[in-house]
């Protein structure tokens, strides 16, 4: 075939220029500022918006709606195309983790033959997207009036290059290797989700989990307050004596 002289042929392979952009070495302020609000979407049964540092998560819940079989928690967690640079993590896997973390918190047996749909969107990812999505999802479920044992609160942690443990890490810090993500039911003191990756020697993993749990306990009252506010807004006070 004659070479096409009219067009400039690009190289056979190409890569995203983002790969070569040096990461800015930002250090997260600890603790990162949190903003939480429940019940902001009118179309969904329940909804919540959660912001921590630069990470922003929106979550909506629909249901319960009729579905054959036993009650299911249909979870979907997505990252918006503009949420971060570089590749995004697989939504399928993240949805499963979200589902696993929430299942222990929701009283599914109260909803036979029904389906609850949880849909979370990470608008901006600056680290801790998944744990924040768990917290947002449990806020949204509670806002929808779904019966739950407790709010599932997510917390993240990463180990810096010097070995120091950093709660609520930024995305740049998450890339450094060792991370822990945890979801806690604080009132019952139960762990409903746990993922550790990277190398953890000796008892460092235990220490990290404990630190992560402390972080969750700190976030818990914030979520409770925002939920109380949303409930007061949404539901009129009963007039009974």
């Amino acid at each position: 075939m004659a070479p096409d002289s009219r067009r400039v042929r690009g190289p056979e392979e190409s890569q995203s220029p983002l790969l070569y952009v040096p990461c800015s070495e930002a250090v997260a302020e600890v603790p990162r500022a949190v903003f939480a609000r429940a019940g902001l979407l009118s179309q969904a049964s329940g909804s919540a918006y959660l912001e921590m540092g630069g990470t922003k998560v929106l979550c909506a819940v629909w249901g319960p709606r009729g579905a054959p079989g036993r009650c299911r928690l249909q979870c979907e967690l997505r990252w918006a195309p503009f949420s971060r640079r570089g590749p995004r993590s697989s939504p399928r896997q993240a949805g499963l983790l979200l589902q696993e973390s929430l299942e222990a918190a929701v009283r599914l047996e109260r909803y036979p033959r029904a389906e609850l749909a949880v849909w979370a969107l990470v608008l901006e990812e600056r680290g801790c997207g998944l744990p924040l999505a768990v917290s947002a999802a449990s806020l949204a479920l509670a806002d929808a009036g779904i019966e739950m044992y407790d709010l599932a609160v997510g917390g993240g942690l990463s180990r810096g290059p010097g070995g120091q443990l950093q709660p609520d890490p930024l995305d740049t810090e998450e890339e450094s290797g060792a991370t822990v993500y945890l979801s806690l039911l604080p009132a019952l003191n139960q762990v409903s989700g746990l993922v550790c990756s990277g190398e953890w020697e000796g008892d460092s993993a235990v220490e990290a989990i404990k630190l992560c749990m402390e972080g969750c306990q700190r976030l818990y009252p914030v979520l409770q307050q925002s939920l109380v506010k949303a409930t007061k807004r949404k539901i009129p006070e009963p007039q009974s004596g």
Partner: protein, 352 residues
């Protein structure tokens, strides 16, 4: 206070919630249906450290390992624990290094849950579980020390070895993750990657020369390749190496991947229940004990340098015995009696 029962049920012996998610515990795609009475029976036994097949809570079933089973592969292994049967083939193919790590080769995992294991896996039925297992495998290898990827590099930025680690699930009898991780380790141990010589002529064109001699090959250092230990929470205790029946009784389990030095490389909670933090710490601690069982059972996989050439594996390792279940050169290994193995091995583990 004792650890709270997993899954928060007020009734002490009710181990299942009547209406819960359609997805059973993660590895229990091929799950069995158990009646309430059977569950209570298993649960009561476990409270007394006695399981249905006579094991204690922290005992493995007999682990059978056979290496070098498929001659078309770079390395292969078949591992059988109880009724769980897994075949792993490693194929080394030439590829281009990933951009992020130009000086390293890389590893690709694929898990085929074949219909052999259970008819539910027919067609695309096993894909979901397969991807999930593959994701866990990626995660446990996602660190610098598990495998020396630099040794897989042939020419930085241009050529490297890609290790395709393909897992084939032949039979599914509980404890998939552990079995698969042992099989992956055994297959990597067995892998013989041909040595490559790069010849460069005057114009800078490169040519590769693969060694024909099967003994002139590169072996991988698998000392730090982690093994997965899945601990299932049943009642107030945890068990290792759960059978399908036991998995059906467990609402939550923790998957810990651990190297021979006791370093955790990945940890995950599986299943729909929740766990007491104390019990998680207990499980993390328990890995040392399990590790000693493993070390005793399969020292060759942990200590590189033994049985380095083809055919010697079986003779060098005293714990392997021959069995003729599948083939004549089958290696069979029994980790019992555990206490004896642990005793004799504490010496060996200190040597590592």
């Amino acid at each position: 206070m004792t650890a709270m029962e997993t899954g928060m049920v007020s009734n002490r012996y009710s181990v299942s919630r009547p209406f819960t998610s359609g997805r059973e515990s993660c590895s229990g795609m091929a799950s069995v249906q158990l009646s309430e009475a059977e569950k209570v029976y298993i649960l009561h036994g476990i409270q007394d450290d006695l399981r249905v097949d006579g094991r204690g809570c922290e005992d493995y079933r007999c682990i059978e390992v056979e290496t070098d089973v498929v001659s078309n592969t770079t390395g292969s292994a078949r591992v059988k624990i109880g009724h769980t049967d897994v075949l792993v083939g490693v194929k080394a193919e030439m590829g281009i290094p990933k951009l992020g790590s130009p000086g390293e080769g890389y590893v690709e995992f694929f898990v085929d849950c074949s219909a052999n294991a259970t008819p539910e896996f027919e067609g695309r039925g096993g894909e979901e579980l397969g991807t999930e297992i593959a994701n866990v495998l990626y995660k446990i290898f996602d660190n610098k020390s598990s495998l020396n990827l630099k040794s897989l590099c042939i020419q930085p930025r241009e050529h490297c070895w890609v290790l395709y680690i393909d897992v084939l699930l032949l039979e599914c009898g509980g404890n998939l993750f552990d079995t698969i991780s042992i099989a992956v380790k055994a297959a990597l141990f067995n892998a013989r990657i041909p040595k490559v010589r790069v010849l460069e002529d005057e114009e800078g064109a490169k040519d590769f020369e693969l060694s024909d001699d099967p003994y002139d090959c590169m072996r991988l250092n698998v000392t730090n390749v982690p093994c997965i230990v899945t601990l299932s929470r049943i009642g107030h205790r945890h068990v290792v190496d759960a059978t399908l029946q036991e998995e059906a009784c467990s609402l939550a389990s923790v998957l810990v991947s651990v190297t021979s030095k006791g370093v955790l490389t990945c940890m995950r909670k599986l299943g729909r229940g929740s766990l007491d933090p104390e019990s998680i710490f207990e499980m993390i601690e328990c890995r040392h004990k399990i590790l000693r069982q493993f070390l005793g059972a399969i020292p060759a996989f942990w200590v590189q340098g033994k049985g380095a050439t083809r055919g010697e594996t079986s003779t060098q390792v005293p714990n392997f015995t021959h069995s003729s279940l599948f083939k004549d050169k089958y290696m069979h290994l029994h980790t019992q009696p555990y206490s004896a193995v642990c005793m004799s091995l504490s010496r060996e583990s200190t040597a590592i």
